[in-house]
Symmetry: C2
Subunit: 124 residues, 2 copies
């Protein structure tokens, strides 16, 4: 059986060997806050304070940490204006848009089905 799918080798090689780069990137993208920040930025750039409010429940520490990783991975661009008071905008890069294009369908499905999943879960 020949499978053309890029992940077809998973059954023989294992799912993303622990040391390969994909694991690191995957961990960043699927980190607790990474997904939410990416989704938040998917409709346009946001300032630090806006991100804090939009991503409900995130602490300053986690926002800073998450943004640093996403910027380092090239998903998010940081635009700091040296004004007083300071103004910093965060926006998706082209790479970030490619990523969220694949992330949003997943998020849509989850939000659409979460209620059914959770209520059904309570029954069991």
């Amino acid at each position: 059986m020949v499978v053309s799918h890029p992940l077809a080798r998973l059954l023989t090689d294992g799912v993303l060997p622990a040391q390969c780069p994909s694991r690191a990137v995957l961990d960043h993208v699927t980190s607790k806050w990474g997904v939410l920040v990416l989704v938040a930025l998917s409709e346009g750039s946001l300032r630090w304070g806006e991100l804090r409010r939009v991503v409900d429940g995130i602490s300053e520490k986690m926002l800073a940490q998450t943004l640093r990783v996403l910027v380092a991975d090239g998903f998010v661009a940081r635009d700091a204006r040296p004004t007083i008071p300071p103004r910093v905008d965060y926006a998706l890069t082209e790479r970030g848009r490619e990523l969220t294009a694949r992330l949003l369908p997943l998020m849509d499905w989850i939000t659409a089905n979460a209620e059914a999943i959770v209520s059904e879960r309570a029954r069991s």
Copy 2:
């Protein structure tokens, strides 16, 4: 401006309010091992021992815990045959296949781009 996207309300309402069910399901799906187990099962059912080998680096404890959550959420079906030695198969449910259909494009993109992302990261 009218946005038809299901997530369009994010900017006004925040990204998935902390207490909503979506957050819980999202955490399960994007948990460190959840994604990898789902991807591993995306090409067919696997036994416990096969999963352990295929999902590189997972401990027995985490495999058990991850499977319990995925089964409870209805993404994975557990089929235990009362034979000696015991044989237990895990497979995606219909809901699980709906989910992985959205997960695989994301994983493909990540595996395809991870190397570039990580090497570029080292430069900075």
